[in-house]
Amino acid sequence: MFRKLSPPVLLLLPALIVLTAVVLLPLLLSLYSSFTPFRLTRPATLWIWIGFRNYERILSDWVFWAAFLRTIVLLTIALNLEMLFGLGLALLVNKATRGKRVLRTIMMFPMMFSPVLVGFQFKFMFNDNVGLVNNALQSLGLTDQAIPWLIDGNLALFAIVVAEVWSSTSVFAILILAGLLAMPQEPVEASKVDGCTPWQTFRYVTLPYVMPFAYIAMTIRSLDIARAYDIVKIMTDGGPARRTELIWTLVGRTAYSDAQMGLANAMAYVSILLSILFTIYFFRKLAAARTQIGAEW
């Protein structure tokens, strides 16, 4: 039977079979299940077709929209902070006359910890009774009350942002540092001769040069944060009262705690759109920045 197939098709067949089995079929199955009221506890429900009812339900559900928007807010705040801190760190390390390699390695330490452990550590640090943060604030006399970091909704989101920024600023720092190290020095010198103050040199010469590197970091990190789950799950589990619920904690809860797999899959497909949009956006920015600096990579 293989005789009839042309050699290219025949040669690609093993790969196609494997990809179909592990990627395409599960994808189609999950897409299909998002059109059913599938519950893990009642397998027979997989065979009931309900059309777009799951989608209608989530798109009209404020809990979903709140999680969706909260994810975007978290993404925006965290990315901007990481960008700023990362740029600052990279500039500082780049100024170091010796020990750059050591500093670079130290800078990567936060990336070496599992997000789950980071979550536990920050959960402890922000604990209102025994946490380090409150302890420090009270010892310094800045407050005499225990601040309910993980209990107040806004503060909890803030605490999560802090944990995210702490663990991932180095992604920006490393990539921007790579850009700074690769940067030719002559344009910088030319700008000094052209009359620039150090700030103007940074603003008009250095920054445009490192922006493509920052956009690469943003693309990577936007996908990271858009699927943020572990840190939030550990620190607040979406609480208090869903005030820190993000898309994926909501999807996880719907799928496994509530066992509504069909509904959860529908949410997942909507949120994947978000990731795709961010990726397209940042790659556009990257392409524009690359043409701008005339990069040949």
């Binding site: 030719p184 002559e186 344009p187 010198e189 030319a190 700008s191 000094k192 001769v193 052209d194 009359g195 620039c196 103050t197 103007q200 008009y204 010469v205 445009p208 040069y209 043409t291 701008q292 600096i293 005339g294 990069a295 040949e296």
Partner: protein, 369 residues
């Protein structure tokens, strides 16, 4: 417009002195070339004038003011870099107008200056391109444009033509010369190419190992090199240089061959002194095929074997064997020569150079102007 003075200028990296106390006065509007082999400290000197390199000792004065501690932006200079150093994210127009924009000039003034500079350099058609879309020669022109829009007091050029191919280099050399004639600013031009230095500069500063070997007009450094180093460095093909010992009014070379001591050095040497004899290829020629510049009595003739010839069309470089090495000679109105053929060669001793083997300094009497 300003004169530039270097006073005992020193640059050291740790214990290593790369510039060892240079004194130099550049007049207002003068075109000075710093030339020397790589590592001689010429670029470092230029970068100290620009303010891109700190000054270890001594002083740089621009227009009578000591600028040692002024940042580059306050020195009123422009610099053209070897790698052009254009801003990759700006168009040609933005690159050229950048310094004026930083100086907060009104847009109309920036446009006027940029248009004027682009007209001088023939860049009008390229104004909206980015550096990546330009050829090497065009980038070089933009770099010059960026330098002239500011109307600086001093132009600094750091080997601006060394990344260009030979033809373009010649062309840009002419443009730089025209540009200087037009803007009349003081120019300090660093190059390792002695031809560039000779063709462009009013005066040439020949540097070696962090100090100045000689300062002079192209004519001076060519005709009256102060040292063996300058003699070997300036001129192409290079001067024939060979060590000899003085014996009975003869220069005896290491392999035993000898030449009579040129008459003008008779009083300058002592018996058995070690000297270095030098004669340019132009001043050795197959008899009847040269420019005879000296008096008739100054021509020494010898019959020598030809080892190889390099025809250049209007002239041929003839390599002849003498004193254990090959001597380059220039043959005008050439005809074909066979390797191994013995021909009559003329040595024009009126143009001969003699240096002390010990100090490397010229033994010629200083010329009184």
């Amino acid at each position: 417009m300003a004169q530039v003075s270097l006073k005992k200028l020193v640059k050291s990296y740790g214990a290593v002195q790369v510039v060892q106390g240079i004194d130099l006065d550049v007049a207002d509007g003068e075109f000075i070339a710093l030339v020397g082999p790589s590592g001689c400290g010429k670029s470092t000197t230029l970068r100290m004038i620009a303010g891109l390199e700190s000054i270890s000792d001594g002083a740089v004065e621009i227009g009578g003011t000591v600028v040692n501690d002024l940042p580059p932006r306050d020195r009123n200079i422009s610099m053209v870099f070897q790698s052009y150093a254009l801003y990759p994210h700006m168009t040609v127009r933005e690159n050229m107008g950048f310094s004026l924009k930083i100086a907060k000039q009104p847009q109309s003034e920036i446009d006027r200056q940029v248009n004027e500079a682009s007209a001088i350099l023939g860049l009008e058609a390229l104004m909206d391109r980015r550096p990546a879309q330009l050829s090497g020669g065009q980038r070089q022109r933009v770099a010059m444009g960026r330098a002239i829009v500011r109307h600086p007091e001093v132009f600094l050029f750091d080997e601006p033509l060394s990344n260009l191919d030979a033809k373009l280099r010649t062309q840009m050399r002419t443009e730089i010369k025209k540009l200087h004639a037009k803007v009349q600013s003081t120019v300090i031009y660093v190059t390792h190419d002695q031809v560039e230095a000779m063709t462009l500069a009013d005066r040439i500063v020949i540097m070696r190992d962090g100090h100045i070997e000689q300062v002079g007009t192209p004519d001076e450094v060519f005709k009256r090199p102060a040292s063996r180093f300058v003699a070997g460095f300036i001129g192409s093909p290079p001067m024939n240089i060979e060590e000899a010992t003085i014996r009975d009014g003869q220069m005896v070379f290491r392999n035993g061959d000898s030449l009579p001591l040129p008459a003008q050095f008779a009083g300058a040497v002592t018996e058995s002194q070690k000297v270095v004899f030098g004669l340019r290829p132009d001043d050795i020629f197959p008899s009847g095929h040269g420019l005879s510049s000296g008096g008739a009595g100054m021509i020494h003739e010898a019959e020598l074997p030809v080892s190889i010839t390099e025809p250049l069309g209007n002239e041929t470089l003839v390599f002849v064997e003498f004193a254990g090495r090959e001597w380059v000679s220039r043959m005008l109105n050439p005809h074909a020569l066979r390797p191994g053929e013995r021909i009559a060669m003329s040595f024009d001793f009126s143009q001969a150079h003699l240096f002390s083997a010990e100090t490397g300094k010229s033994l010629a009497r200083p010329v009184k102007d």
